[in-house]
Symmetry: C2
Subunit: 639 residues, 2 copies
């Protein structure tokens, strides 16, 4: 048996009820590394282009990384890969929690689902055995209720469940998948694909951790991490405040998306800040499998809304999306919206963004109060926002329109609503301001999964703490100089190209970005050591950086096969207009500079600078000649 992975991929056809197992050799695992690349391999090999995302033909892939589940902080995550109903492009989203390790302990590195069940079902994976079980009684239930019923029915309280609530069932295009009531595979609408397949949940229970090559090194590094991670101010901040630690400083520095990105500073930031959360509604911090940081929040409130602590608490993206970006200064309302999102399986970024979009339409007379389900949907109305979360999940009235995402909603509403639709490729923009973080716009415009903040969340524009740690990490990649902030220039594109590969291998291997991202605890060396210790492969940073680049290219190839081209890389118009006020008043993206940067970015990737189709040589270099051959069936792959 190879190390650190099972060598078994479960395949399930929900249309026929048949299951089977794919097995690959060690080299295959060392090339694709599980996670995103494994998913992309199936999407390119076993799915034809042009499939409707909601069709039974669309694959839905749950995948762990090769090292997922080793008992060290940061290896708790899993990926979901499918074709997005929001973007019609590749969908990829990672979640922490406990589901990924449990799936691996249950005997499978990944589950590849196709088809559509005739009636609601859930999948039960129990130490290698697989059952497709009736979910009639679960349909319509919240994620929490469904999890409780599954555990009760199967008689094991330690079963881990990843599933959807009503939003997924109702094909809300930004529905997510939730595990343990609070960990979300958030972006790109994978919950809607799950719903379209009548698949309520996957339940997993396993008792067999695959053997690792060098358990001592893993234990030593896990202990090192636990002993030392709090010496890093970034991790201290995460433990004490969670990811929301950045909200108040962001506002102060003019980086905080506010009122549907109209501006970048929020006068009530203190009221929705992590500090305020700690003083008022915080119950405790929580962590993922084997993690010492415990950056997750648990909050509880009784008024003006009852907030159930079982659903955790809001992270930064959520606090900004329901808070500043909706102009809402009530942290309890924000927390309630978060609770409902987790309960119903809604992505908080897109849900908050959809409501912020509607609010701006309402304030500009494009939507009337009657259009808004009778709600006074002005910015700042927390109660209306909370109600609208309910209405989106259940597709009621305006909620049904917003459930399509802001791109389609704007098309449906018309009357100029489009200019308030802050999305790219149908994916709502995360809570980071590309007019201030210079390189983030490149990420939003080019990320194959649509507007993405994970590729390079930490633009060097933002190094609010631990800059020295950042620089040490970046130096391991060969980025030696401090770079100018708030600009797009050639040196920053160079940094971006390297960091993109860096963040991409983190996602491919399903490692937590917070344990390794340039400001966090592990050094590059330590992560390479952990991966080597897990697998017994003498890995190098060169090798796993190439895995990251492989992921970007496989995703790009998928999108090219679907018809996307360089011309589809751009930003919402708002970002080319100046921020009207606050500390960053006047900041904007220059379209000519941006166009030039996109060209340079594609050249750096060794892609055609206009079409963004990878040159065959780049695919060959990444051991992806077969991808070039696949693309060549549909389009000219430049030699």
């Amino acid at each position: 048996m190879p190390y650190a992975y099972n060598g078994k991929i479960l395949k399930v056809d929900l249309s026929t009820g048949k299951t089977s197992v794919d097995e690959f050799d060690e080299n295959w695992y060392r090339t694709y590394w599980g996670g995103s690349c494994l998913g992309a391999w199936y999407m390119l090999n076993e799915q034809r282009p042009g499939v409707d995302p909601f069709s039974p033909e669309n694959l839905l892939i749950f995948a762990t990384g090769v090292p997922t589940g080793i008992p060290a902080p940061g290896f708790a995550r899993h990926s979901i890969i499918t074709k997005s109903a929001a973007s019609n492009a590749i969908a990829d989203t990672e979640a922490g929690g406990f589901f990924g390790p449990e799936l691996k302990f249950a005997g499978y590195d990944a589950v590849v689902i196709k088809g559509k069940a005739e009636k609601p079902v859930y999948l039960w994976i129990n130490d290698g055995k697989v059952e497709i079980r009736d979910a009639g009684a679960l349909w319509g239930k919240s994620t929490g209720e469904a999890q409780a019923l599954i555990r009760e029915e199967l008689g094991d309280r330690r079963i881990r469940v990843a599933g959807i609530g009503p939003a997924g069932e109702n094909l809300v295009r930004f529905a997510c998948v939730i595990n343990e009531l609070k960990h979300a595979n958030g972006r790109t609408g994978t919950g809607a694909i799950m719903g379209s397949k009548n698949l309520k949940a996957i339940a997993a229970r396993g008792h067999n951790q695959p053997p690792t090559a060098d358990g001592k090194t893993i234990r030593d590094l896990a202990k090192w991490f636990a002993d030392h991670c709090m010496e890093n101010p970034a991790n201290r901040g995460l433990r004490i405040y969670g990811t929301g630690e950045i909200l108040a400083p962001y506002s102060k520095d003019g980086l905080l998306p506010t009122r549907n990105f109209q501006t970048s500073t929020f006068e009530h930031a203190e009221e929705i800040s992590a500090e305020k959360m700690n003083e008022t509604i915080l119950v405790e911090g929580e962590g993922c499998y084997a993690c010492a940081v415990r950056c997750k929040r648990v909050v509880k409130a009784d008024e003006p809304f009852q907030v159930d602590p079982a659903y955790g608490g809001p992270e930064y993206e959520t606090m900004a999306a329901f808070g500043s970006n909706c102009g809402v200064s009530d942290l309890v309302a924000v927390s309630k919206a978060n609770e409902l999102s987790n309960k119903y399986s809604l992505d908080t970024i897109s849900t908050g963004s959809a409501i912020a979009f509607a609010m701006e339409c309402y304030e500009n007379g494009i939507l009337s109060q009657q259009d808004c389900n009778g709600l006074d949907l002005r910015f700042g109305n927390g109660a209306a926002m909370v109600q609208m979360v309910e209405d989106i999940a259940h597709r009621r009235g305006l909620g049904d329109v917003l459930a399509e995402g802001v791109k389609r909603a704007a098309e449906k509403i018309g009357r100029g609503a489009e200019k308030f639709a802050i999305h790219w490729r149908g994916v709502e923009v995360p809570m980071h301001e590309p007019r201030v973080k210079g390189m983030l716009g490149i990420s939003y415009a080019t990320a194959p999964i649509g507007a993405d903040h994970v590729v390079v969340e930490h633009d060097t524009d933002f190094d609010f703490n631990a800059p020295q740690v950042f620089m040490d990490q970046a130096r391991s990649l060969g980025i030696l100089c401090r770079l100018p902030t708030h600009t797009i220039d050639e040196d920053k594109l160079r940094m971006y190209y390297y960091l993109e590969q860096h963040f991409s291998f983190i996602d491919t291997l399903d490692i937590c970005v917070f344990t390794l991202a340039p400001v966090r605890a592990y050094t590059m060396d330590q992560v390479v050591d952990l991966v080597s210790a897990a697998t017994g492969w003498e890995c190098s940073l060169h090798e796993i950086m190439k895995a990251g680049e492989r992921r970007v290219n496989m995703f790009q190839a998928f999108n090219i096969r679907e018809g996307f081209r360089g011309k589809d890389d751009w930003l919402p118009q708002r970002f080319f207009e100046p921020i009207p006020n606050g500390p960053r008043a006047g900041y904007k993206v220059d379209p000519e500079q941006f166009r030039k940067a996109l060209r340079l970015y594609r050249r750096m990737h060794n892609w055609d600078p206009e079409t963004a189709i990878p040159y065959r040589a780049k695919l060959v270099e990444l051991d992806l000649a077969w991808v070039a051959d696949e693309l060549a069936k549909y389009t000219e792959v430049p030699e």
Copy 2:
């Protein structure tokens, strides 16, 4: 003071006699790493294009790598960089021995020489102090005599001397630079540039090893290497037989250049083999500074030639160049030719090749016995060969013609001699057969320094021992599969692209290829650890692989600026014709396949596939935007 390097580069203008010091910050050293990249930096920044190689304007740079001189096996080398009088392209050549470490201990990371002394001089670098001293009494002397005279004059027997003999003085276009009588900066004719400047030698003495960041790790790894290197069959072979260990197996397998590359197996291979050397003339093995392998040979003979052990003994390249490639089966004649080459400062590969070329001309009636200084210059005539080495060094008769290199000699001789001139870009081809080693032809055709065997000496076509070690090392670069042998295909180009960077960083950092090359002792991890321990920089393989790629691109840029283009990448016609007999009868390079491979190679490099000019994006990615700007003054740099 930064670690592991002095931060001081000595500049000497021989025309004016002025010296000065350049100082750069830590980031500069971490970007260029000393060695080849340091040299290329000066060649691009301080030399205009079109300079005649023999003009005083040509720079001649002796450079150590950042980690050179740490007390661990493999860090004993230094580079010489200049514009080659053989190729008019970049020249770069590394040598082992003791000179590199001594130069560093004497206070300088590099010496950048320009101008021309009015009369013969040598440079004396003594613990930071610099003198340009009269070399009138040394001119015309052999390398050994000159070294002895310098040590006597300066009164220190431990002075290390790198210098030239008569061949360099006489501007033989393939003259080399010799240190310690037997270590050669062999290829590309750097000794002739030294001669053109009236610079006989550089003498160095230093007592100050720059501090390292982590001496314990260096000591531990040096001890590990000493304790374990002999467990590796490749190193055992090196210690017992020297590099000549491969000669007999090469012949048996049809890989051994024979009679000017007419065929690839030599019926007398056993007689010139390392085994034969061990049985007959070997005195002892010797090593470089701090090395445990001791792969160098010392031989002694009395008849039919007296061979002085002070000049070491022949390595594989020499044994093949003077042996099989001249059809000579007398190991003593081969050893004498080697001794004379070291004494006169001649590159053995080019010298042997020039004589082999003349022999084929002679056997085909293009040269008469009279043309050949009265010698019966048929293949196999060892005495004639030895005499011709003398004649080349002293530019006597045909020797004067051959001293220009086979390209120019063939032009001068005419009468169809050109088809026997086995060179590329004016640099004679090393002793590896590109018709059998599939990827080697790509190296010969594209290497910026002209036909080069160091970039990828160990094509996977050749894995005569320790294949498992090879695979483990290659896997660290992400090359997982066994590749087909004796072909050029896409997967092998992928391997080549990675190995090219790998061998290139080895040369850039002036590490010995035999301590790290895919079949040798250190793992990739250990080399990265050594470099980190030397410098205190938390390096990664990603970072130093990029340094290797930076070197290739800086060299390529230099050549582009000189007017070279993709059309200049090709092979001597002989390699497109089949090997006529032996185990590899019928093997040849297919021109169409080769043309296609060159295109793919350039695309992989992110260079224009026709012109071979790097795209600006590639240079930017490597932190070389300034190189793109420099090139843009002379040609269009594609965006």
